[in-house]
Amino acid sequence: MKFSHEAEEILETLWVSQEEKGNPETHCRLFNEEGRAEALKELKLAGYISQNKEKIILLEKGKEDARSAVRHHRLAECFMMNVLKLDKETGNMSACEFEHLLTPQLEERICGMLGHPKTCPHGNPIPQGKCCLKTGLQKEIVLKRLSEMKAGQKGRVAYMKTADKRKLQKLMIMGVMPGMKISVIVNAPSCVFQIGNTQVAVDAEMAKSVFVMTEKKR
């Protein structure tokens, strides 16, 4: 089930508090911020939490999703800091954005690309996913901007980062979405890439805002 980002973050906090720190319950004041009431209602409706005046308890039904929310968050942190080499502060901020965009498919790929990490950059454990249990060929994965890729290089779209909504809309209507296979056909004087069976030409400015995961065999 999909929740609002607020709700997902509440789940994370609850899970960390109860499962990792072993608190039996969590104090309500942690969630006093404005706008959180609606998210809490969402979770209550789904039967994920119970709440009285002071305390909130994460119920059995919500644990699975809460665990995966934490996993997403910490994977995103690893990704931002280890792969993108962002500093802690920007890394944290980008991770908070990115974690909500992870689809199961993308999550698996990122986890694989990071080598199924056990801990996040802050040293907290990352709950294991199904993919971590399977052993397979480990590949080093490098994240590149589309504009930096060479002709013939392949990969999968990680995400798009642009402040310009119209640019984002254009990329999306051409089929550029996280997780999609992408390959570069030529990269000068403009970038022409293939996604699905469509070839698209974009200028360097647009190509810069697409981040692609490329594989490099070890």
């Binding site: 607020e6 709700a7 706008g35 969402e42 999306m172 403009s190």
Partner: protein, 647 residues
């Protein structure tokens, strides 16, 4: 007459909508192999077992949230017009991506029929589509078609007509809880019903579609603020743009439906057209290929059209078979010389108007349109666009503008209409201006090539024109404020043009052009006759003789320039006559060719510029172009004289 039932065709650019429209209605709208040919809504009548339907072919759109002006046109039709069926045409090769739009259309509550087109091309790539599964999953009729061969188009016709009898319930797709809930809240605030469902309207409001916000706020004066509050509350809650999140959810649903209904076997090795395609896009091979194309174009239009055919028409058809008998005939029946002049002699309707239009202009324009149709249908233009994008950026345009600019070498009027495919107002203004200023049309070009027969003269003329384009283009971009253009364009596969399509397209374009030109040429003959008769013409010519002499031209050229007010090509054709009579040659000929090429756009182009860009912009352009043409003439003359260049 009662209003006919409507069928609307929608879909992304370059998926075959126009071909399907042509088949359904039996009429013709331009079909080509580059995205964005249909800039207008074409409407036609379709007959089905005795009843008639109105079919509308909309410009290409990728989603219900428009990016360009033409997408907005297409969306407004869906927003405002009630249809018995909406046919979405999709490219079978890119079904996964295009299903996202299908989901959006179904959600809008439209009576959808899905035409999965180009299944032949998809099959070659190893893609097999199960129409029944798609139909079950989507809950709408799905027809697999090959529009170029007419395959299954009759089935599509009946599916559209009998849409009301299709009893499956369309897919009801729900988003994650928070989005769903908000959508319901916004829907409840909407009082008025639109042709698109309230859910769709609400979602568009949430992704902050400016146009929809405007429309809704005009209708819902009381609720406008409440609606805005709801939507911003949601937007603030998420860190990623709403549009991205909603699209991502649709995409994962679309992918699931795609995976259920489609099987893909491994594709074979790179096809020949793909190899060639890469050569056209690599700058090292792409630029030579471009130069080769220009050369072939010159050989075909400049040599075959403008020299061989024009000569044949002029000397044999008109010189031997038409003019002498007509002259004898007219002189036999009309004894009054004044009236004789109306039909024959130097400026007569037959000897001047008809001769210019048929013998001079027709062969050149026809050969250009044949060549353009071939280039267009191969899919070469988007490749040229990606090669040239960086250069065009300097002029405040992007690679996409290559289409109107290249078309402008055929007919500037047509090209000015096509500037609609450009994204921002700024780009449209710059493109219209450069078309009016520095792009000579094929009729003009043909005659200019004939005028400047020497390599040296032609080279000087080319250098001057290219410099004008570059310098004025660059300056315009500096002077006109606005955001930087963004270049993005789908690159369709290279295809071998279909002879029939090239023929039909050329025919339609020439017909359009001729209808435009012919009456003007006849009118010009009549006006000149009246002008001569009343003496007004003599006064005007006298007045124009001064600027002629300033830029070093013989005063006889004034007549040609006066013609130029009617159409630029008419003016050029007048120069051509002067050259034949030996009145002008050498440097003045180059000067004249430069001046007339920059000079006013023809009347038709001017009218279209007013219509598309507004009277203010059009007048400003004209106010610059008139004096600038003479200035450039003067400059070229002065420089060439100073440098003692002889031609």
């Amino acid at each position: 007459m009662t209003e006919k039932n409507k069928i609307i065709i929608v879909g992304s650019p370059n998926v075959g909508k126009s071909l399907i429209f042509n088949h359904l209605t039996g009429s013709y709208s331009a079909v080509s192999n580059y995205p964005g040919t249909s800039v207008e809504v074409f409407r036609g009548i379709m007959k089905y077992e005795g009843s008639e339907f109105e079919v509308a072919d909309t410009p290409g759109m990728y989603s219900l949230m428009p990016v360009t002006e033409e997408e907005l046109v297409a969306r407004n039709i869906l927003f405002e017009e009630k249809a018995v069926a909406v046919i979405q045409v999709v490219d079978a090769k890119n079904l996964e991506r295009m299903l996202v739009f299908t989901l959006q259309l179904i959600e809008a509550g439209l009576p959808m029929v899905l035409a999965v087109n180009m299944i032949d091309e998809a099959e070659k790539l190893g893609i097999t589509i199960n129409a029944e599964k798609l139909q079950t999953n989507l809950g709408i009729p799905v027809i697999l078609t090959v529009a170029t061969d007419g395959k299954n188009l009759e089935a599509l016709k009946s599916a559209a007509v009998l849409r009301a009898d299709f009893k499956q319930t369309p897919l009801d797709f729900s988003y994650s809880q928070a989005i769903e809930e908000k959508t319901r809240k916004v829907s409840d605030l909407l009082g008025r019903e639109y042709e698109l469902s309230k859910k769709t309207v609400s979602l568009l409001l949430m992704v902050e579609d400016a146009e929809i916000i405007k429309v809704v706020c005009a209708d819902e004066k009381n609720n406008c603020e409440a609606i805005k509050k709801e939507t911003t509350a949601l937007t603030d809650k998420y860190r990623a743009p709403m549009n991205y999140l909603i699209t991502a959810e649709r995409q994962s649903k679309a992918s699931a439906i795609y995976e259920d209904g489609v099987t893909v076997t491994k594709a074979g090795r790179l096809a020949f057209n793909e190899v060639l395609s890469r050569f056209t896009m690599n700058p090292w091979t792409g630029v030579p290929i471009f130069i080769l194309c220009i050369f072939l174009l010159y050989e075909f239009v400049g040599v075959l059209g403008a020299q061989v055919l024009v000569k044949y028409f002029e000397e044999v058809i008109f010189g031997k078979y038409i003019n002498p008998p007509v002259e004898t005939f007219v002189k036999h029946f009309i004894t009054w010389p004044v009236l004789q002049d109306l039909f024959v002699n130097k400026y007569g309707i037959i000897t001047l108007g008809v001769r210019y239009a048929v013998a001079l202009i027709l062969p050149i324009v026809t050969t250009f349109f044949i060549a353009f149709s071939i280039i267009e249908d191969t899919g070469y233009l988007p490749r040229l666009a990606m090669l040239i994008d960086r250069v065009f950026k300097k002029f405040g345009l992007n690679g996409r503008a290559v289409i109107p600019i290249v078309l402008g070498f055929g007919c500037n009027t047509m090209a000015t209409i096509v500037t609609r495919t450009l994204e921002t107002k700024r780009e449209r203004v710059i493109a219209s201006f450069l078309l009016a200023l520095a792009i000579p049309c094929s009729a003009q070009l043909g005659i200019i090539f004939a005028l400047l027969s020497g390599v040296k003269a032609l080279a000087i003329w080319l250098i001057v024109m290219i410099s004008v384009f570059v310098v004025v283009g660059w300056l315009t971009a500096q002077l006109l404020p606005g955001e930087k253009p963004i270049f993005y364009m789908e690159v369709p596969p290279l295809r071998l043009p279909k002879l029939k399509n090239v023929f039909v397209k050329t025919y339609t374009r020439v017909e359009w052009y001729f209808k435009e030109v012919f009456p003007l040429f006849i009118a010009a003959s009549v006006i000149i006759w009246v002008g001569n008769l009343t003496g007004i013409f003599a006064v005007l010519v006298k007045m124009l003789e001064y600027p002629m002499q300033w830029i070093g031209l013989p005063k006889e050229a004034a007549v040609a320039f006066l013609f130029g007010f009617f159409r630029r090509d008419y003016g050029a054709a007048g120069l051509y006559d002067l050259k034949l009579h030996g009145l002008i040659s050498g440097v003045p000929l180059v000067v004249a060719a430069v001046t007339i090429a920059i000079f006013v756009p023809c009347i038709a182009q001017f009218a279209v510029t007013i219509k598309e860009r507004g009277i203010k912009a059009a007048l400003l352009m004209a106010a610059f172009i008139f004096p600038f043409a003479f200035f450039m003439g003067w400059l070229v003359n002065t420089v060439l004289t100073l440098l003692k260049v002889t031609i």
